[in-house]
């Protein structure tokens, strides 16, 4: 799975730390997701979508391997 977290974060001008605090996770989690090393749970994906005020499908995309 790939995602646009980094891009969306840049649009809102948020640091990894700020985004992490907003959805109460560690900064490592944001970093791992942006590096496509971690696929978040549905709950976390929905929380991220809510911060960016977008639908989940506009932020997360299926990969060819999925």
């Amino acid at each position: 799975m790939t995602n646009r977290i980094k891009v969306e974060r840049a649009i809102l001008n948020l640091t990894q730390e700020e985004l992490a605090n907003r959805i109460s996770v560690s900064r490592q989690t944001i970093n791992a997701m942006e590096a496509n090393k971690y696929v978040p749970s549905t709950v976390l994906a929905l929380k991220i979508a809510r911060v960016f005020d977008k639908r989940v499908e506009e932020i997360f995309f299926l990969d060819t391997e999925d």
């Binding site: 990894q16 109460s24 996770v25 560690s26 900064r27 490592q28 989690t29 970093n31 791992a32 971690y38």
Partner: protein, 165 residues
Amino acid sequence: MNQTLLLPNRFKTIGWCILIPATIAGILLTTTGYEAEWLNAKVLTLFYDEISIISDAVVDEFGPFGLIEANVTNTLVGVVFLFGALMVAFSKEKHEDEFIANLRLSSLLWSVWVNYILLLVAFLLVYGIAFLHIMIYNMFTILIIFIIRFNYLLYKSTTSMADDK
């Protein structure tokens, strides 16, 4: 991973303070075979099996639930080590979240694999008293390997974001 099975974060520091001296003491005990005289005690045991020589005859006494005389140096160090290691291994991180839980679980799986591969190699290649030593160490290696692996993965995930704002 079920979060309720983890200890609060402050136990991690306490655990390290216990684990480090207990590890040093444990290594010293296993290499020197030292037993403190003043730690001879009568202890309750679930099962005992003692061989003694009474007037040239070998007597093997065994059975469940007994009160026996034993030196508790190893017992004491082993128990303290386990307390320390369990605290370090199973305390929450400052920001315990699903990604950390994922690292924790995969480290646990990794350490079980590595531990049993090492034991398998030892089974095949080590015999006699040397194997007995390996078995003693093997009682603790799963926890040790897990602690090393988990903290290494945590460290790696922290450094990979060092320059990334």
